[in-house]
Amino acid sequence: MKARITVTLKSGILDPQGKAIEGALKSLGIAGVASVRQGKVFDIEIEGSDRKAARAALEQAADKLLANTLIENYQVDLK
């Protein structure tokens, strides 16, 4: 099974990298960019076909390592 975990900064956490990217997009003249927040995407292959177990494992992976839940939120998508 293929899965994707998306990790994003919580709102209110300053994102200087996102700000720098936002500035670069604006200086490229790309229209309508109001703001940018940078995050991370993890594409993960899970063995077996037990979706419930897979989801539990992915949530454990996100909680224990992939996201720092002090500053980040995550979303698990199982395809």
Binding site: I13, P16, Q17
Partner: protein, 233 residues
Amino acid sequence: MKSAVIVLPGINRERDMARALTLISGRAPAMVWHADTALPRGTDLVVVPGGFSYGDYLRCGAIAARAPIMGAVRSHAARGGLVLGVCNGFQILCEAGLLPGVLMRNAALKFICRDVYLRVERSDTPFTRGYNAGQVIRVPVAHGEGNYVADQDTVVRLEGEGRVLFRYAAPDGALDPAWNVNGATNAIAGVLNASGNVLGMMPHPENHVEAALGPTDGRGLFAGLADHFKQAA
């Protein structure tokens, strides 16, 4: 003082740390590999040194914080043993949940490698007894992610409980945003855990301990720790 320096892949300040500990405490530390699961018997002080563990992959310190040896470091801390994390070591202790908060990208987005001035906020801890409260020391920093951030409740608690031991300051000790090199919340450069036995700090006291290399303001931290254990013995 029996100290142990944790060695992780990508760490590069472990020898500076070992040199400072040996020079000032008179006893060479044990160098403990990340894949080990136990600290040497009788370890007083564990030091997690600076560097770029695992190439700063994922988040600074995130992978190192899950290394096998960290279980032993966590138990040592839970028993009241002293733990010092410097630079990447500070990031690792935060990621391991031994210290609150997180070190974010420097506010100006640049890697900073220079001397800074720190105001020592308290002298009544094992880590800072070699200094006077209010004393200003000069030590170097070298980091890209040293901008200390914690939620507001945590910051209020840290301040209320006197757990900020070092702040970035002007040479006269005044707090001034211009001297807060990485934009850290409340200019926090070093914080204690709730029980006062785990300290994380971004600056490198181990690099200012020998007159041949410049200022020796870092000595006070190691001398204080050595005194602490001498008195306890």
